[in-house]
Symmetry: C2
Subunit: 210 residues, 2 copies
């Protein structure tokens, strides 16, 4: 990106990450660190392949991304965020919070990827009783199953995959689930909107907005 040429921290930040697609690439790597090129393309519907390549190179030069050879079984290399890249989390979190109200006006025209829901869960949901025993929820927001677990420090761990026995299971659309877990939607109301909840409703009290 052309520099703004302004001696201002905001302008410098935008010189670095203000280009089109860059912060969305950071989002992808924040959701699942250690991505192949193809994984990134799938998580970034609409990106032209040449731009993805350009951006990754620029981000590597800027010290945001690391391209490393994958361990033996894999025949390719993986992209990771550097610590400096991970420091963009507050930026992503702030932008996401601000952008959330814009999602309402969406008549399903936009594309959606299941795994995207993991990021707001990680950023905005926390465990309100870290001392109590760990809890695991299985979330079904789309095709993929996402696991949400409590962690000792009050934050939650989010991963996709399957587990034998979650403590509860939630099936619904991403926003319902997110609003339910941040306490903005009551279980009763969510149920009338079609969300399914299996398990002890008290478990929900463990979760709240961060």
């Amino acid at each position: 990106m052309r520099s703004y040429g302004q001696e201002c921290a905001l302008a410098k930040a935008l010189d670095s990450v203000g280009e089109r697609w860059t912060l969305l690439i950071v989002r992808e790597l924040m959701i699942r660190d250690g991505c192949r090129y193809t994984d990134l393309r799938q998580g970034l519907p609409g990106i032209p392949t040449n731009l993805l390549a350009d951006r990754l190179e620029a981000m590597e030069e800027a010290g945001l991304v690391l391209k490393e050879a994958a361990p033996p079984p894999v025949a390719t290399h993986l992209f990771r965020l550097t610590p400096r890249g991970r420091e963009l989390e507050p930026v992503i979190a702030a932008l996401g919070r601000w952008g959330a109200p814009l999602l309402q006006a969406n008549p399903g025209k936009d594309t959606f990827c299941d795994h995207w829901v993991a990021l707001p869960l990680r950023l905005y949901v926390h465990d309100r009783a870290p001392q109590e025993p760990a809890v695991t929820l299985a979330l079904h927001a789309g095709q993929e199953q996402i696991l949400l677990g409590t962690v000792g420090d009050g934050s939650v761990r989010v991963q996709s995959g399957r587990t034998a026995q979650p403590d509860a299971r939630i099936v619904g659309n991403p926003y319902q689930i997110l609003r339910l877990l941040t306490g903005k939607l009551k279980l009763q109301d969510a149920r009338t909107q079609g969300l399914r909840y299996e398990g002890d409703a008290k478990l929900l009290r463990r979760f709240g907005a961060a």
Copy 2:
């Protein structure tokens, strides 16, 4: 801006404010709300005038900016942030924090405007003893004089202008002043770097990082 077409809060936010110059325009309006077109141009060195006009129109349509007829004495209209626009403050703050380290590598090639320093002061400095009587510092970071005052709620008020009797006076470059007031630089060290401080050094204890 072309939409990313992704059902994701971050992507939606970037659809709205991700275009080149947009967040810098927000910065200007955050520093001094109620700007004329010309004020904006001065605060945004390098912006092509047609782009400024384009962006302002788009931002008005997006509900970020309000263009209002100025009260009688002024023969023009003023641009203001809407409440929704002002909600971008956490975004600007996060980006600014992230970008701050990039300012070091600057050999004075970039342009600088005095009033820019007001924003980090407001965002990152706070009053550590709100109950105590108000205090006013006169800051000279460039040509312009900037006043920094404490406010009852722990935040500080920043304005440019002159006052009869500040409680102390600081002359230095913007980063020195900012680092001094956020407690990252000691007065002693700042002085050896050329900063001038007139007044009671204890006053500095009132200020810290937010």
